[in-house]
Each structure stands twice: as C-alpha cells, then as structure tokens.
C-alpha cells in the first residue's frame, strides 16, 4: 500500500489479525483490500456508489451496494468483530440511527470523521460570515454531501446517547499524525482536523 489516508491507517492499526470486518461506506475498497492483505481479515463492504462497488468487485472484495441509512437493519446482531465507518457519518441522514445499528452489528465500531470544531473552521465562519470551506470540507453549503457535520465534542456526546462507550479516541492533525486524546478536553476539539474513535456498545 503506497499511501493510505491517515485516518484509514489509524483505523487499520485498530483491527486485530483475522477479524471479521464490515466497512460501511467502503468507497473503492482501498482499506478492505489492505486489511485483507495485511491483517488477513474476513472483510465485507457496504457502498452506495455503483462505480465504487464495481471497483471493489474487480478487486475481489465482497461488497454490497446499499445505503447505510436504510440497509443496516437487515444485518444480524454482533456478527462482525469490527464495523468501520470512515468519513461517512457526516453524510448520513440519520447519524444517531446509523451509529446505533453499527454498535448492534459489531462488537467494536471504528469511526473517523472531520472535526467541524477545528480553529480554521471556526475562524473562517467568524471572519467571513459565510459557511466555512476548508481543505477537508471543500463544498459549498448548498451542494455538500456532508449534511450532518459535527465537532469532536458533538460526536463524543452522540456516541454516549446512541448507547456506545468510547474505548479509544485519537486526534488527527493536519499533517496526518494521530495521537490519543481526551474527548472532554478543549484542545483537540480546537486543534485536531479530524478524529478516530473506537467504540463498543455499553
């Protein structure tokens, strides 16, 4: 694997060898392919875009075309060791419902997300009075797929409300480095560009 997105590398590091993994919103399957090769996982994917599903099928991955908002209810409970939701929760219609389903389906849930509390986002809004556009979030407000953006603090609160417990939390810096963080501290919420969480059902 030449260059893997930093949040995916951090998630990959959390996955045990030989685990049964479901990647929700698996994109073109880069992470699943890596996990299959490097960690010998039994990997499955769920992906909305047909082009992406085709890319996955051509890579020999087992991916089902579907929508996280509507299709997760059909999976049996506790069948996966880890369920992954990378850079996807902000694009779901019902983040709380999706997160609840993930906690039900998997023994662990790994989530990565962009942090809307980052200082550049905050400054951007304060200074321009317009909806922020950043490197990580480069859409206009009216055409963005990211309809449910949140901050690290917001997500930590949602995780609790959805019945989850945070096992690990990593702050992701702009240069792609990760380090452990306390979700109740103010500084990661201001300085981290993104975050990676490992949750389990309470």
């Amino acid at each position: 694997m030449a260059v893997m997105r930093p949040d995916l590398a951090a998630i990959a590091e959390m996955i045990p060898q030989g685990a049964r993994v479901l990647d929700v919103g698996c994109g073109d399957g880069a992470l699943l392919e890596y996990l299959t090769a490097a960690k010998n996982v039994d990997g499955r994917g769920l992906e909305l875009s047909q082009q992406n599903v085709n890319a996955c099928v051509a890579r020999g991955l087992a991916v089902i075309q579907g929508d996280a908002d509507t299709d997760l209810g059909e999976y049996p409970s506790q069948v996966f060791d880890v369920v992954i939701l990378s850079q996807t929760i902000q694009a779901t219609r019902n983040p709380k419902g999706v997160l609840g389903q993930l906690l039900r389906i998997g023994r662990r849930t790994a989530v990565s997300l962009p942090n809307f509390g980052h200082w550049r986002v905050r400054l951007n809004l304060l200074a321009s009075g317009r909806m922020p556009r950043t490197k990580a979030l480069g859409y206009e407000w009216y055409d963005t797929p990211n309809i449910h953006l949140c901050t690290i603090a917001d997500f930590a609160a949602l995780a609790k409300e959805a019945g989850g417990e945070i096992e690990r939390a990593l702050a992701l810096s702009e240069d792609g480095r990760t380090r452990a963080m306390r979700t109740d501290a103010w500084s990661p919420n201001l300085f981290a560009e993104g975050a990676i969480f490992l949750l389990r059902a309470r």
Partner: protein, 387 residues
C-alpha cells in the same frame, strides 16, 4: 450425436450442438417422484477446457432460452441469446474459459421434454411428460458435467430462470461451485409472477388447437395461444419507461387511427411480432412445463423456510446483479438473496444497475453489468490460478 429438433431447420449453416443420451442405467430421478429413462440433454460448448479442468463456466438459460448462448440459433439463424457478454474477449471470455450451456429438461431444443418422442409409446410425450422443477434441471446439468469429466465449475451464471438455477446449483452442489453470478432473479417465484404465468398457460390451453396437449399427433400447434402468452410475458420483461421511450403513442399509419381493431399503435405491432416469431421456435407444451417449474421454485421451502440454510457451508463467491427498472425480479428480491448469503457467512457482492430497460436488461448491452462480471470473473480466475 446431435440433438433432435422439433421443426425443420431454417438456418442450415448453424451449429446444431451436441447431446448426451443417458440410458436406463442412468435414469434421471425427478422431484415429482417419477424417473426419466432413457433421457437426453442437448448442449453447446465454447472455448477449450484447460488441462487442470479448472476453467469451466456453466451458463444457465432463462424460460425461453436454449443452449445457443454464443452462436447462431439453428432454427431462426439469429445470433446467440447472450452474445453480448459471452464470446472471445467478452466478459465471459471464451478465449479463457470453457463455456457450457445446456437446454433445460422440459425444453424443446433437443433435451428431453414434452415434444420429444416417448420411447415407451413411440409418440410425443405431450402431457404424459413428468412435471419438472428447477432442481431437476440442475440435477440433469450435473449429470452432463459428470459425463464431460468436469468436477468443479469456475463459475455458474445466468439471468432470470437461469439465475434460479445458479442458486439451486449453490444449494445442491456447493462443493462443485467456485463462484456464482445470479442475475435478475429471486429465491422464489412471487405471487405476481405466478399470476402472469397462469395467464400465459390459460392462453395456450384455451387455443382449440392445443387439443389437451396432444396437438402434435394431429399435426397442429396452438400458435395463437402461445403467441398471446408470449405477448403478455414480453410486457413483463420491459418497463413502462422503456415502452414509452421506444413507442410512446406512435401510430403505425401516419394517416391517423383506423377506428378498427387492427394494430393502430406501434407498440401493438411490436408485441404481435414478438408473439408471431416466438411460435416458430418454441413448443407450447414446453412453455407450460417450464413456467410451472419456475412457479414451483422456492429455495427456502426446502430448508424449513430459512433461505440462509440453503447456503450454509457454501464456499462459493457470489456476485448478485439486479436492475433498477426490473419489476419481474426486482432489486428487493435479489437483495434478499444477498442478505441470506450474508447471514450464512458466505462471500457475496451485490450490484444494482441503473437502467430503464426492465428485466430484459440482462440480455442487452449494459456496460456496468459487463464491467461487474468481467471484474468479478477476473478476480475469481486469478484466485484459482486460471490464466
């Protein structure tokens, strides 16, 4: 020895195919409790079987299909029914794979069926031919593969009733299937689909020339009934949007409507053409038998109603494909298969392809379907060391 056909051949240059004749020592045991012996299965092959016998791909045909998947039909002279996807360099590449396609039991292109001669009486079977099921069709195919010396299939694929056979293969012979691509199908025939089939059967049986199924003895054929059955069925293979796009309300005669019942609209002429050409190549009793086999198909019923149990322990890799505008075998039915496979911990991919061409899309030029099948087969072949 080649298969026998019902009608005189109109395409004399076409390949007539091959057939295996099984004697009474190799009777075909049927789900209805009867056995068929002697019996015949007609088939075609394309490409070369490799030395390891690891590159065999079985294509299963739909209700009115036949073994001529990638070569001219010997009766009509038209191209093979799936030449869009099967052939040299095509997604199911006959330059790499050994493709086998057999006429189903109950069919009318050389395999044992109601139109063939009953050796016991010397007359056509007609309705004395036993009722067959999708599982019987698959059992017959397995015996054909035995006789060809093929133990395992790199892939088994097909659309519609062909997809039903694919599912049955995975359930009946899981150890013989490396991968499976069921397209536009379902694990059971729905009430609506049974209803449409019954309309078709009643149209055939209401034709005075059907003669209680014994029309061959009188040198007749219930052509009108069979044509109406085909017309009704053909509507279910399309979609409202496709009919609108192709025909709209366009008139046959630009002069206007006729105030009579001759076909005024192009869509009527199109359906008439579908009906009339169909009777030249298909046997009415076969149509009754095969539609019945589809009606009876309910894979979960053999496993106490739990579809996942049908796939328990199946090591095959699945790739399921459906089409957005297919209302005969809609996406939800195909997804149900995917969920059952997931619940059985099988390896499954599922793709829904956006098209307005309805159920027929699986036979047509659908680049996304081609890309999916090509990519899937490439990765399966690579995993099996097939060049």
């Amino acid at each position: 020895m080649g298969p026998k056909f019902l009608r005189p051949l109109t395409a004399p240059d076409a390949e007539k195919g091959r057939a295996v004749h099984f004697g009474s020592e190799q009777a075909l045991a049927l789900d209805c409790g009867r056995t068929l012996a002697p019996w015949t299965i007609a088939y075609m092959t394309y490409g070369e079987l490799n030395e390891a016998r690891s590159n065999a791909v079985l294509v299963c045909h739909a209700l009115t299909g036949d073994q001529f998947v990638a070569s001219a039909h010997p009766v009509t002279g038209k191209p093979g029914w799936w030449e869009t996807i099967v052939g040299p360099g095509k997604p199911i590449d006959t330059g790499r794979f050994f493709v086998i396609c057999a006429n189903v039991i109950g069919g009318c292109m050389g395999s044992s069926g109601p139109a063939e001669i009953d050796p016991a009486s010397g007359e056509p079977f007609g309705l004395s031919f036993p009722l067959v099921t999708v599982r019987d069709m698959v059992r017959a195919q397995a015996m054909l593969l035995d006789s060809l010396g093929i133990e395992r299939l790199l892939c088994v694929t097909g659309g519609s009733m062909g997809g039903m056979q694919v599912l049955q293969w995975a359930a009946s012979y899981p150890e013989r299937v490396v991968s499976a691509v069921p397209i536009a199908c379902a694990a059971k025939h729905s009430a609506q689909n049974i209803a449409f089939h019954e309309v078709g059967r009643q149209a055939i049986m209401a034709d005075p020339d059907w003669l209680g199924g014994a029309y061959q003895l009188q040198g007749k054929q219930p052509s009108k009934g069979l044509a109406v059955a085909r017309m009704a069925a053909h509507i279910t293979y399309l979609s409202e949007a496709a009919l609108q796009r192709k025909f709209g309300r366009t008139l046959q005669n630009p002069g206007g409507i006729s105030f009579a019942f001759a076909p005024d609209f192009q869509v009527e002429s199109y359906l008439h053409h579908q009906g009339v050409t169909f009777v030249d190549r298909f046997d009415a009793n076969s149509y009754l038998y095969i539609t019945r086999a589809m009606d009876y198909f309910d894979l979960a019923a053999d496993y106490a109603g739990v579809l996942a149990e049908a796939f328990r322990g199946c090591k095959a890799r699945f790739c399921i494909i459906s089409f957005t505008s297919d209302w005969l075998f809609p996406t939800v039915e195909n997804k149900r298969i995917a969920h059952a496979l997931n619940a059985a911990a099988a390896t499954v991919s599922f793709v829904e392809i956006e098209t307005d061409r309805g159920h027929d899309a699986f036979l047509l030029d659908e680049p996304e379907m081609f890309a999916t099948v090509r990519g899937f087969l490439n990765s399966v072949a690579a995993g099996q060391g097939v060049a």
